[in-house]
Amino acid sequence: MKKILFTFIALILGGAAWAQNAKLPENITLKDIDGQSVQSSVIQNGGKPIIISFWATWCKPCNLELNTIKDLYDEWREETGVKLVAVSIDDARSAARVKPHVEGNDWPYEVYLDQNSDLKRAMGVVNVPHTFILNGNGEIVWQHTGYQAGGEEELIEKVRELLK
């Protein structure tokens, strides 16, 4: 056991020191909003930035954030070409609520379900909401946990910086 640990740490220290920005994991199985399995590699935006927002139907700040961005989303898209992908971490109890929740709130986002928390774990998310910005090459360039009113300004500012 200890050997595994040491080997692992050594590999990380030795190997990853030269690493670039982490990318979005490619082969994680998610479900789309109609219940069909897809791989995380479907999250694409033709070389433009992507915002990935981890959320859940029962999470109040998540809903506040996604409802706030909804009113700004058309402007954001026009200005920066950014796309928001909302990844729900609802488990079996509330997963069936995701589609009615998204449509009932009239959210314009691309939505995926991560019922087994595979993508959540792979991206190191602890609590929702947790937001990532990916640059045009799919590299994670910024992340943020929690949402407070006004957080959306900081988010789009970081996207704008990418385009400079």
């Binding site: 056991m1 200890k2 595994i4 640990l5 040491f6 692992f8 050594a10 590999l11 990380i12 030795g14 190997g15 990853a16 020191a17 030269w18 690493a19 670039q20 982490a22 990318k23 994991p25 082969n27 994680i28 199985t29 109609d34 219940g35 069909q36 399995s37 029962w58 109040k60 488990d91 079996a92 109890r93 509330s94 069936a96 609520r97 589609k99 009615p100 929740h101 449509e103 009932g104 709130n105 009239d106 087994n116 928390s117 595979d118 774990r121 792979a122 991206m123 190191g124 998310v125 602890v126 609590n127 910024w142 992340q143 943020h144 946990t145 929690g146 407070q148 009113a149 006004g150 300004e153």
Partner: protein, 554 residues
């Protein structure tokens, strides 16, 4: 030790050399969390002194990814565990490790893994750090995706329980097919069809369990117990229907009192949704579906499967004061939910629109006739309803008054049976009103106010065991939250039992967030009660004092 440091240095050097040559690269992601707690005695709320003065839970997850290859480790520390976490967690060490290959058509994980078949009613290995629950399987997990639309999973392993592993061996296979992807003529069809089936088997050595009819005799225990799932996810236009039926063979165990009655459960979700409107109905029936990898294990650990609670996951304090917990031995229930957006300019919508959210659920026990004790069939199920376990209805209205002010008003009525928590007492009937106002004062500041009221027919009496629930009585609550920029927040709240009850729970919190790092410090009194996530609950004792939490992701 010196030898180890040497090994480490050698490996690091080796790793560097390899990576310098471009063979190794990849990246590291992960997160760290530390939670601390100090608590002193308070007889009113039932808080005890903590002899250690400071309790701490901490963990660090590290994930190394390089192309299709990944490896992960988790270090956990409980010195000593926070109040409400099992004392068996005391200690520290490596709690989780794995290596994985994630290709386009094949994924293999060796080590600890989390997995779910369908809605999890026959298999769900998962963890919830706030519940102190980790059902990870240690073994192998293989997932095949030979063609788009087809997924086949196979698992084998033993379940984690605290710092050890259960004796029972868990094996499972599951397949899911999306007909629209694999059948040419279905590709353009408006009917969306996904079918799935799974089988899980548990093996455990024999042991001596006396029969209830004759204590001289021992039960003839099944060493292998199997469970099967059949499910379909259908859609047409705005409609969708998800259904899963599961059954389990004879499984005498500590939770069902060692009876041989087979298990089954049915879950149905019917949904209609379009932009701005959705309606859904959910039905569930469970009969003896507690499925553990160790038959003598009671409590929340070593469950192979997961039975979701059918009630809404409420978030306001008083709405979630009496949470519902799934009754794995038997329950039947319904939930209905409607969301509607009144558009801007409509009669009810006014100038800014209005969101309406209705929800209701009701859960009953099964109507059963007991036919015997341990070693017999145990009981038979009649077609009617058993006792009322839980029911609630809620109406929520959300509206923007202006660009700067938003409010939400909620009314709920709730019926709660203490038997859900294995406690004595009558049904509690509660009326709850919540008003929640968010005011964006200016660019850098926002304020949130929350006022809650609960009127209940229950009362508290310290001398009567049937009325010893400290949640009883009529309550009021106020909360103010001040957000400063996007980094700081301050909040103060108080819950007070003004009639027929006991307790005054005040709390002050300050938090700082920067990027993916968050630090929060709180001081106040925490109610004794069940912390429930997804219908699984953990009893948290009352506490009185300082708490802090630090999380960061990288």
């Amino acid at each position: 030790m010196i030898k180890r440091i040497f090994t480490l240095a050698l490996l690091a050097a080796l790793g560097s050399t390899v990576s310098a040559q471009g063979l190794l690269g990849g990246h590291v992601t992960g997160n760290v969390q530390m939670d601390g707690q100090m608590s002193s005695a308070d007889s009113i709320i039932g808080a005890q002194d903590v002899p250690e003065k400071l309790l701490m839970n901490a963990r660090a997850d590290v994930l190394y990814t390089n192309g299709d290859f990944s490896a992960g480790l988790r270090f956990e520390l409980y010195q000593n565990p926070l109040l409400g976490f099992d004392a068996k967690y005391s200690g520290q060490g490596l709690a989780n490790y794995f290596v994985a290959y994630n290709g386009e058509k094949l994924s293999i994980t060796a080590g600890h893994f989390y997995e779910q078949f369908g809605s999890g009613m026959i298999l769900r290995a998962y963890e919830d750090r706030y519940l102190g629950l980790d059902n990870a399987l240690l073994g192998m997990n293989v997932q095949l995706r030979p063609v788009p639309g087809v997924t086949i999973k196979g698992v084998i392993g033993r379940q984690k329980i605290f710092w050890e592993y259960g004796e029972g061996l868990v094996r499972g296979i599951d397949g899911e097919v999306n007909l629209n992807s694999i059948l040419g003529f279905m590709k353009e069809s408006k009917f969306r069809t996904t079918l799935g089936a799974g089988f899980v088997s548990k093996y455990e050595d024999d042991e001596v369990i006396p029969s209830s009819a004759n204590p001289e005799m021992r039960l003839n225990l099944p060493l292998n117990v199997g469970a099967t799932s059949l499910r379909a996810d259908l859609g047409y236009g705005n409609w969708s229907l998800q259904t899963e039926y599961v059954m389990k063979g004879q499984d005498p165990n500590a939770i069902n009192g060692y009876v041989y009655h087979p298990g089954q459960a049915l879950l149905l979700n019917l949904i209609y949704s379009q932009r701005g409107f959705s309606a859904s109905v959910q039905a569930k029936r469970i009969d003896n579906m507690g499925f553990k990898s160790v038959r003598s294990q009671s409590g929340e650990m070593l469950y192979i499967n997961y039975l979701p609670a059918i009630t809404k996951n409420h978030t306001y304090a008083f709405l979630s004061m009496y949470p519902y917990a799934t009754q794995v031995n038997g329950e039947q229930g319904l939930q209905a939910d409607v969301m509607y957006k009144f558009k801007k300019g409509s009669f009810l919508g006014g100038e800014t629109g209005l969101d309406l959210h209705l929800n209701g659920s009701v859960v009953y026990g099964l109507d059963t006739t007991v036919t015997g004790g341990a070693g017999t069939e145990g009981y038979s199920v009649n077609s009617g309803l058993g006792e009322t376990l839980y029911g609630d209805v809620s109406v929520e209205i959300a509206k923007k008054l202006s660009k700067a002010v938003k409010y939400t008003v909620t009314y709920a009525y709730q019926v709660f049976n203490p038997v859900v928590e294995n406690e004595p007492g009558d049904l509690h009937h509660n009326h709850i009103v919540v008003a929640d106002v968010l005011w964006k004062v200016n660019k850098g500041h926002s304020l949130r106010f929350e006022a809650e009221w609960m009127g209940s027919d229950s009362h508290y009496d310290a001398n009567d065991p049937a009325h010893s629930d400290r949640r009883a009585g009529d309550w009021i609550m106020g909360l103010v939250e001040w957000n400063i920029g996007t980094h700081w927040f301050l909040s103060a709240s108080d819950q007070y039992a003004y009639n027929d009850g006991i307790g005054n729970y005040y709390n002050f919190t300050v938090g700082y967030t920067s990027g993916a790092t968050r630090l929060q410090v709180g001081y106040g009194k925490q109610r004794e009660g069940l912390l429930c996530i997804g219908g699984v609950c953990r009893l948290v004792p009352a506490s009185n004092g300082l708490t802090f939490s630090l999380t960061t992701s990288f």
